[in-house]
Protein backbone atom coordinates (compact mmCIF):
# COMPACT_ATOMS: atom_id res chain seq x y z
CA UNK A 1 0.00 0.00 0.00
CA UNK A 2 0.89 3.61 -0.49
CA UNK A 3 1.37 6.15 2.26
CA UNK A 4 1.64 9.87 1.78
CA UNK A 5 3.04 12.12 4.47
CA UNK A 6 2.78 15.89 4.68
CA UNK A 7 5.22 17.61 7.02
CA UNK A 8 4.42 21.24 7.78
CA UNK A 9 5.83 23.85 10.14
CA UNK A 10 3.83 24.44 13.29
CA UNK A 11 1.93 27.69 13.66
CA UNK A 12 4.11 30.37 15.14
CA UNK A 13 7.35 28.91 13.77
CA UNK A 14 8.94 31.40 11.39
CA UNK A 15 9.35 30.15 7.84
CA UNK A 16 11.95 32.32 6.08
CA UNK A 17 11.74 30.20 2.91
CA UNK A 18 7.97 30.60 2.74
CA UNK A 19 8.44 34.33 3.25
CA UNK A 20 10.94 34.52 0.37
CA UNK A 21 8.53 32.62 -1.91
CA UNK A 22 5.73 34.99 -0.89
CA UNK A 23 7.89 37.99 -1.86
CA UNK A 24 8.91 36.36 -5.15
CA UNK A 25 5.25 35.76 -6.04
CA UNK A 26 4.55 39.41 -5.30
CA UNK A 27 7.45 40.43 -7.53
CA UNK A 28 5.98 38.30 -10.35
CA UNK A 29 2.74 40.22 -10.09
CA UNK A 30 0.68 37.61 -8.22
CA UNK A 31 -1.26 39.85 -5.89
CA UNK A 32 -3.31 38.83 -2.90
CA UNK A 33 -1.02 36.12 -1.54
CA UNK A 34 -1.29 36.73 2.19
CA UNK A 35 1.06 34.02 3.34
CA UNK A 36 3.14 31.09 2.04
CA UNK A 37 4.24 28.22 4.26
CA UNK A 38 6.64 25.66 2.83
CA UNK A 39 6.58 22.01 3.85
CA UNK A 40 7.55 18.52 2.69
CA UNK A 41 5.61 15.81 0.91
CA UNK A 42 6.78 12.18 1.08
CA UNK A 43 5.46 9.11 -0.74
CA UNK A 44 6.13 5.69 0.75
CA UNK A 45 5.51 2.36 -0.94
CA UNK A 46 4.81 -0.14 1.84
CA UNK A 47 4.79 -3.94 1.92
CA UNK A 48 2.13 -3.87 4.65
CA UNK A 49 -1.40 -4.79 3.47
CA UNK A 50 -3.39 -3.83 6.58
CA UNK A 51 -4.32 -0.14 6.49
CA UNK A 52 -4.39 0.34 10.26
CA UNK A 53 -1.02 -1.36 10.72
CA UNK A 54 0.42 0.72 7.88
CA UNK A 55 -0.85 3.90 9.51
CA UNK A 56 0.68 2.96 12.85
CA UNK A 57 3.98 2.13 11.17
CA UNK A 58 4.16 5.41 9.23
CA UNK A 59 3.13 7.42 12.32
CA UNK A 60 6.04 5.83 14.16
CA UNK A 61 8.34 6.77 11.24
CA UNK A 62 7.15 10.38 11.47
CA UNK A 63 7.76 10.54 15.22
CA UNK A 64 11.26 9.04 14.92
CA UNK A 65 12.62 10.52 11.71
CA UNK A 66 10.37 12.07 9.08
CA UNK A 67 9.29 15.07 11.18
CA UNK A 68 10.97 17.01 13.96
CA UNK A 69 8.02 17.47 16.29
CA UNK A 70 9.68 20.42 18.01
CA UNK A 71 8.83 22.55 14.98
CA UNK A 72 6.82 20.37 12.60
CA UNK A 73 3.37 18.76 12.37
CA UNK A 74 2.64 15.81 10.10
CA UNK A 75 -0.36 14.10 8.53
CA UNK A 76 -0.45 10.52 7.24
CA UNK A 77 -2.74 9.21 4.51
CA UNK A 78 -2.95 5.55 3.56
CA UNK A 79 -4.20 4.38 0.16
CA UNK A 80 -4.99 0.76 -0.66
Amino acid sequence: MKATVHVTLKNGVLDPQGKAIEHALGALGFGGVNQVRQGKFLELDLGETDAEKARAQVTDMCEKLLANTVIENYTVEIEG
Binding site: G12, L14, P16, Q17, V70, I71
Partner: protein
Amino acid sequence: MKSAIIVFPGTNRERDMAIALEKASGTAPLMVWHKDSEIPDVDLIVVPGGFSYGDYLRAGAMAAHSPVLRSLKEKASKGTPVMGVCNGFQVLTETGLLPGVLMRNAGLKFICRNVGLKVETSQSLFTGGYEDGQVLSIPVAHNDGNYFADNETLDRIEQNGQVAFRYVDEDGAMTEAGNPNGSARNIAGVFNKEKTVLGFMPHPENAIDPAVGGTDGRGLFDGLVRALS
Protein backbone atom coordinates in the same frame (compact mmCIF):
# COMPACT_ATOMS: atom_id res chain seq x y z
CA MET B 1 42.57 13.85 28.02
CA LYS B 2 41.50 11.09 25.62
CA SER B 3 38.94 12.13 23.04
CA ALA B 4 37.03 10.66 20.10
CA ILE B 5 35.68 12.46 17.05
CA ILE B 6 32.68 11.00 15.22
CA VAL B 7 32.98 11.09 11.43
CA PHE B 8 29.97 10.81 9.11
CA PRO B 9 29.90 10.93 5.31
CA GLY B 10 29.87 14.68 4.67
CA THR B 11 31.67 15.69 7.88
CA ASN B 12 34.38 18.21 6.99
CA ARG B 13 35.73 19.83 10.17
CA GLU B 14 37.06 16.70 11.83
CA ARG B 15 40.68 17.47 11.00
CA ASP B 16 40.51 21.02 12.33
CA MET B 17 38.92 19.64 15.49
CA ALA B 18 41.62 16.93 15.79
CA ILE B 19 44.38 19.53 15.45
CA ALA B 20 42.82 21.76 18.11
CA LEU B 21 42.30 18.86 20.54
CA GLU B 22 45.81 17.48 20.01
CA LYS B 23 47.39 20.91 20.40
CA ALA B 24 45.65 21.44 23.74
CA SER B 25 45.88 17.92 25.17
CA GLY B 26 49.03 16.48 23.59
CA THR B 27 47.04 13.39 22.56
CA ALA B 28 45.65 12.77 19.10
CA PRO B 29 41.91 12.02 19.22
CA LEU B 30 40.50 8.75 17.90
CA MET B 31 38.46 9.03 14.73
CA VAL B 32 35.27 6.95 14.92
CA TRP B 33 33.41 6.15 11.69
CA HIS B 34 29.60 6.42 11.70
CA LYS B 35 29.15 2.70 11.01
CA ASP B 36 31.11 1.70 14.12
CA SER B 37 28.72 0.54 16.77
CA GLU B 38 31.06 1.11 19.71
CA ILE B 39 32.83 4.30 20.75
CA PRO B 40 35.98 3.47 22.79
CA ASP B 41 36.15 4.67 26.40
CA VAL B 42 37.30 8.28 26.25
CA ASP B 43 37.05 11.43 28.38
CA LEU B 44 35.29 13.43 25.66
CA ILE B 45 33.24 12.65 22.53
CA VAL B 46 33.06 15.34 19.83
CA VAL B 47 30.57 15.54 16.97
CA PRO B 48 32.27 17.95 14.53
CA GLY B 49 31.00 20.27 11.84
CA GLY B 50 30.17 19.59 8.22
CA PHE B 51 27.19 18.40 6.23
CA SER B 52 26.57 14.86 7.42
CA TYR B 53 24.53 12.89 4.87
CA GLY B 54 24.27 16.06 2.77
CA ASP B 55 21.83 17.62 5.27
CA TYR B 56 19.15 15.37 3.71
CA LEU B 57 15.67 15.67 5.24
CA ARG B 58 16.89 18.10 7.95
CA ALA B 59 20.43 19.07 8.99
CA GLY B 60 21.64 16.36 11.38
CA ALA B 61 18.52 14.19 11.06
CA MET B 62 20.11 11.19 9.33
CA ALA B 63 23.26 11.24 11.46
CA ALA B 64 21.12 11.25 14.60
CA HIS B 65 19.92 7.75 13.69
CA SER B 66 23.25 6.24 12.58
CA PRO B 67 24.68 3.18 14.41
CA VAL B 68 27.40 5.15 16.19
CA LEU B 69 24.85 7.51 17.74
CA ARG B 70 23.32 4.68 19.77
CA SER B 71 26.70 4.21 21.44
CA LEU B 72 27.06 7.98 21.87
CA LYS B 73 23.65 8.26 23.56
CA GLU B 74 24.45 5.37 25.87
CA LYS B 75 27.76 6.93 26.90
CA ALA B 76 26.18 10.36 27.28
CA SER B 77 23.52 8.90 29.57
CA LYS B 78 26.31 7.52 31.76
CA GLY B 79 27.90 10.96 32.00
CA THR B 80 30.62 10.94 29.32
CA PRO B 81 30.99 14.58 28.18
CA VAL B 82 29.80 15.18 24.61
CA MET B 83 30.42 18.32 22.55
CA GLY B 84 28.69 19.06 19.23
CA VAL B 85 29.96 21.87 17.04
CA CYS B 86 27.92 23.30 14.15
CA ASN B 87 26.53 20.22 12.36
CA GLY B 88 27.36 18.37 15.60
CA PHE B 89 25.00 20.73 17.44
CA GLN B 90 22.30 19.99 14.86
CA VAL B 91 22.86 16.25 15.33
CA LEU B 92 22.62 16.49 19.13
CA THR B 93 19.34 18.43 18.98
CA GLU B 94 17.94 15.86 16.52
CA THR B 95 18.81 13.04 18.95
CA GLY B 96 17.01 14.89 21.73
CA LEU B 97 20.15 15.12 23.88
CA LEU B 98 19.85 18.91 23.67
CA PRO B 99 16.68 21.03 23.65
CA GLY B 100 15.48 23.01 20.62
CA VAL B 101 16.27 22.79 16.93
CA LEU B 102 18.45 24.60 14.36
CA MET B 103 16.45 26.03 11.48
CA ARG B 104 17.42 27.74 8.21
CA ASN B 105 19.16 31.09 8.83
CA ALA B 106 16.61 33.90 8.97
CA GLY B 107 18.38 35.72 6.10
CA LEU B 108 18.42 32.50 3.99
CA LYS B 109 22.14 32.95 3.29
CA PHE B 110 25.09 30.79 4.27
CA ILE B 111 27.07 32.82 6.82
CA CYS B 112 30.84 32.50 7.01
CA ARG B 113 32.48 35.16 9.18
CA ASN B 114 33.59 35.95 12.70
CA VAL B 115 30.86 36.73 15.21
CA GLY B 116 30.83 38.15 18.72
CA LEU B 117 30.18 35.37 21.21
CA LYS B 118 29.46 35.92 24.88
CA VAL B 119 30.31 33.19 27.39
CA GLU B 120 27.22 32.94 29.60
CA THR B 121 28.89 30.83 32.26
CA SER B 122 32.37 29.61 33.07
CA GLN B 123 30.88 27.01 35.42
CA SER B 124 31.05 23.96 33.17
CA LEU B 125 33.49 21.32 31.95
CA PHE B 126 33.57 23.08 28.61
CA THR B 127 33.78 26.77 29.46
CA GLY B 128 36.12 26.80 32.48
CA GLY B 129 38.86 28.34 30.34
CA TYR B 130 36.86 31.56 30.04
CA GLU B 131 35.49 34.21 32.40
CA ASP B 132 31.77 34.71 32.98
CA GLY B 133 30.52 37.21 30.41
CA GLN B 134 33.75 37.15 28.38
CA VAL B 135 33.21 38.21 24.75
CA LEU B 136 35.02 36.19 22.10
CA SER B 137 35.50 36.54 18.37
CA ILE B 138 34.87 33.14 16.78
CA PRO B 139 34.00 32.20 13.18
CA VAL B 140 30.67 30.71 12.15
CA ALA B 141 30.07 28.81 8.91
CA HIS B 142 26.52 27.57 8.54
CA ASN B 143 23.26 27.64 6.65
CA ASP B 144 21.07 26.28 9.43
CA GLY B 145 22.05 27.97 12.67
CA ASN B 146 18.79 29.64 13.60
CA TYR B 147 18.14 28.28 17.10
CA PHE B 148 14.48 27.75 17.88
CA ALA B 149 12.50 26.40 20.81
CA ASP B 150 9.09 27.36 22.17
CA ASN B 151 8.99 30.12 24.79
CA GLU B 152 8.35 27.69 27.60
CA THR B 153 11.49 25.72 26.72
CA LEU B 154 13.53 28.92 26.32
CA ASP B 155 12.40 30.15 29.75
CA ARG B 156 13.24 26.79 31.28
CA ILE B 157 16.74 26.50 29.82
CA GLU B 158 17.52 30.10 30.80
CA GLN B 159 16.36 29.44 34.36
CA ASN B 160 18.44 26.24 34.52
CA GLY B 161 21.55 28.06 33.29
CA GLN B 162 21.62 25.87 30.18
CA VAL B 163 22.50 28.70 27.79
CA ALA B 164 26.24 28.42 27.16
CA PHE B 165 26.86 31.12 24.55
CA ARG B 166 24.97 34.05 23.01
CA TYR B 167 25.63 36.11 19.89
CA VAL B 168 26.53 39.72 20.69
CA ASP B 169 27.41 42.85 18.69
CA GLU B 170 30.73 44.73 18.59
CA ASP B 171 29.92 46.35 21.93
CA GLY B 172 29.24 42.99 23.55
CA ALA B 173 25.51 43.74 23.68
CA MET B 174 22.79 41.19 22.93
CA THR B 175 21.17 43.05 20.02
CA GLU B 176 19.47 42.12 16.79
CA ALA B 177 22.46 43.47 14.89
CA GLY B 178 24.69 41.06 16.78
CA ASN B 179 22.48 38.09 15.89
CA PRO B 180 23.74 36.63 12.59
CA ASN B 181 21.05 34.02 11.93
CA GLY B 182 17.83 34.92 13.76
CA SER B 183 18.43 32.63 16.74
CA ALA B 184 15.86 32.90 19.54
CA ARG B 185 17.17 35.15 22.31
CA ASN B 186 20.54 35.26 20.50
CA ILE B 187 21.31 31.72 21.68
CA ALA B 188 24.43 30.26 20.07
CA GLY B 189 24.96 27.23 22.30
CA VAL B 190 23.16 25.20 24.96
CA PHE B 191 23.95 22.56 27.58
CA ASN B 192 21.83 19.63 28.63
CA LYS B 193 20.40 19.88 32.14
CA GLU B 194 23.41 18.13 33.72
CA LYS B 195 25.86 20.30 31.71
CA THR B 196 27.64 17.19 30.42
CA VAL B 197 26.50 17.74 26.83
CA LEU B 198 27.15 21.01 24.98
CA GLY B 199 26.23 22.06 21.46
CA PHE B 200 26.97 25.35 19.70
CA MET B 201 27.22 26.74 16.16
CA PRO B 202 30.55 28.70 16.07
CA HIS B 203 33.88 27.01 15.36
CA PRO B 204 36.46 27.46 18.16
CA GLU B 205 38.64 24.87 16.40
CA ASN B 206 39.14 27.51 13.69
CA ALA B 207 40.27 30.15 16.17
CA ILE B 208 43.41 28.63 17.69
CA ASP B 209 46.15 30.10 15.51
CA PRO B 210 47.09 33.81 15.40
CA ALA B 211 48.02 33.42 11.71
CA VAL B 212 44.46 32.44 10.77
CA GLY B 213 41.55 34.03 12.57
CA GLY B 214 42.83 34.67 16.09
CA THR B 215 43.11 32.53 19.19
CA ASP B 216 39.86 33.09 21.09
CA GLY B 217 38.91 29.44 20.61
CA ARG B 218 41.86 28.14 22.61
CA GLY B 219 40.20 28.78 25.96
CA LEU B 220 37.59 26.14 25.22
CA PHE B 221 40.14 23.40 24.53
CA ASP B 222 42.46 24.43 27.37
CA GLY B 223 39.49 24.50 29.74
CA LEU B 224 38.40 21.02 28.62
CA VAL B 225 41.90 19.63 29.13
CA ARG B 226 42.05 21.11 32.65
CA ALA B 227 38.62 19.71 33.53
CA LEU B 228 39.04 16.26 32.02
CA SER B 229 42.71 15.31 32.48
